[in-house]
Each structure stands twice: as structure tokens, then as C-alpha cells.
């Protein structure tokens, strides 16, 4: 594969039925590409957590998955309120999620730390009032 392949996904605000479909599609593609199960798991955990963040906090947004020969780049961008203090948001247990999200088993302040833990590279760009973009790299 000399040229990379890009997949684009719409992420809908507060849609807890179809949330995760983008990550599910990426999982299927990685399987077809013959990527090892351990790497697939790291990629989909990272993407799914980021996708849920965009659904929960970001008012929806876009997901991009670019498949290269030896790595995958996942970008999740939202037009949400942005993160005021990224350092704080990276701490396990820090959360701004409302109660109804916690009742669904998310929003306990594990999302960003989980992404950091499972990815090879994580870049967070966030501007208060404008939105947040995560760039996640997973090496094969």
C-alpha cells in the first residue's frame, strides 16, 4: 500500500445508539489489512473513547482514519466547548460529564487517560468555545 487510504465519519451529538459505529468500521478495516489483534485493540479502544467524548462533550463532529503502511492516524474533531485545562483532563478520574452519561458507564474521567495509555502518540488541540481535536497515532 503506497498510498494511504482515508475514511471519514460523521459523529452525531448525543446519539448513544449509533455511537461507536466509526470505531467498529475501523476495526473491520484493520482486520482486513491483517493488522495484529493486539494493535487493533489499542486502535479501537483509543478511537472509541475519543468518539464517545465527541458524542458526550463535543456536540458531535467528524472522525478521520488514515491507514498507512505501518501505522494508522485517527483524528476526532468536535465543535464543542473545548477543554479548559488539558493537564487536568488527562488525570484519571477528572470528569465534567453529567450524571446521565455516568449512568451509561462512561464519563468517569478515564477517556483521555485510556487513549494516552493505548496509543503511540496523542496530540490534543483544544480552544475554549471552539472545539477539540485529537490526533491519535497507532503503530502496526
Amino acid at each position: 500500500m503506497n498510498q494511504s487510504m482515508v475514511k471519514v465519519f460523521d459523529i452525531q451529538k448525543d446519539d448513544f445508539i449509533s455511537a461507536g459505529e466509526a470505531s467498529s468500521s475501523v476495526k473491520k478495516i484493520l482486520k482486513q489489512l491483517g493488522v495484529s489483534p493486539e494493535v487493533i485493540k489499542r486502535a479501537v479502544i483509543s478511537m472509541y473513547e475519543a468518539e464517545m467524548n465527541a458524542v458526550i462533550h463535543g456536540g458531535g463532529g467528524k472522525g478521520y482514519a488514515e491507514f498507512f503502511k505501518e501505522h494508522i492516524e485517527i483524528i476526532i474533531e468536535d465543535n464543542g466547548p473545548g477543554i479548559e485545562n488539558i493537564e487536568l483532563a488527562m488525570q484519571e478520574g477528572y470528569s465534567t460529564a453529567p450524571g446521565n452519561i455516568r449512568e451509561m458507564g462512561f464519563g468517569a474521567g478515564m477517556g483521555l487517560p485510556n487513549i494516552k495509555k493505548h496509543s503511540d502518540q496523542l496530540e490534543i488541540k483544544s480552544e475554549v468555545g471552539k472545539g477539540t481535536t485529537l490526533k491519535i497515532t497507532i503503530n502496526f
Binding site: F16, S24, N114
Partner: protein, 117 residues
């Protein structure tokens, strides 16, 4: 341990059984926090949970978990069951509370995940 054995031990009902899934389950994880499941679950685990929304099934998909036990008499909504059928995830319901359900499986040789040596 097969899906039918899990149901028998937990006095539960199988709501969906993936006939193609001949999985032999060796470990389990009991959690109501899906991020914890993603942080700690291993392959081929049973997930025991009291949450029934579709994202529980989606989390199982991400983690290659092929069996979910809904505890405390929780019955999943149709939308969760549809997703489980689509993804081939076995679904069992039991009236037992989480602690007892985990204990019974442990008693029958199912062990925990990552931190148990």
C-alpha cells in the same frame, strides 16, 4: 466454560446464543464502568454488568468480548439485543446480584483478568 454452562451456574436465561461461537470462556470481568472494561479486560472474557444500553455491547465488540451477563435482573432493551445479534455477542440474563454472580463463576473455575496471578 461454554455459554450454556454460564447460564446454568447463574440460573439465568440465554437471550441470544451465537451458535458459531464455540468459545471456551476462562476469565471474567465484572464492571459497570465501560472505560474500566476497556482499560483492563482480556480476550475471551465474560463481561458481567448491570448496565444494558447499546454501548455496553459496543464496548464488548471493541474488546472482543463474546459473552455478556446482565446481572440484578436487568433486561436489555431491543436495541442492545439487536446489536448483540449483529455482532455475535452471547447474551445471558440472571437475577443474581453482581457479587454473587461473580462468586458463583469463580467457584466454578472462572478467574479474574489482568491483576490476578
Amino acid at each position: 466454560m461454554k455459554v450454556c454452562d454460564i447460564a446454568k451456574i447463574l440460573n439465568g436465561n440465554i437471550l441470544f446464543s451465537n451458535e458459531k461461537c464455540e468459545s471456551d470462556f476462562l476469565t471474567a470481568c465484572g464492571a459497570d464502568l465501560m472505560s474500566d472494561v476497556m482499560a483492563f479486560a482480556r480476550d475471551n472474557e465474560i463481561l458481567l454488568t448491570g448496565l444494558t444500553n447499546p454501548q455496553v455491547v459496543r464496548t464488548a465488540e471493541m474488546m472482543d468480548i463474546k459473552a455478556i451477563v446482565f446481572v440484578r435482573g436487568k433486561v436489555p432493551p431491543e436495541v442492545s439485543l439487536d446489536l448483540a445479534r449483529e455482532l455475535g455477542v452471547n447474551i445471558i440474563c440472571t437475577k443474581l446480584p453482581m457479587f454473587v454472580a461473580c462468586g458463583k463463576l469463580y467457584e466454578h473455575g472462572i478467574t479474574g483478568g489482568v491483576h490476578e496471578e
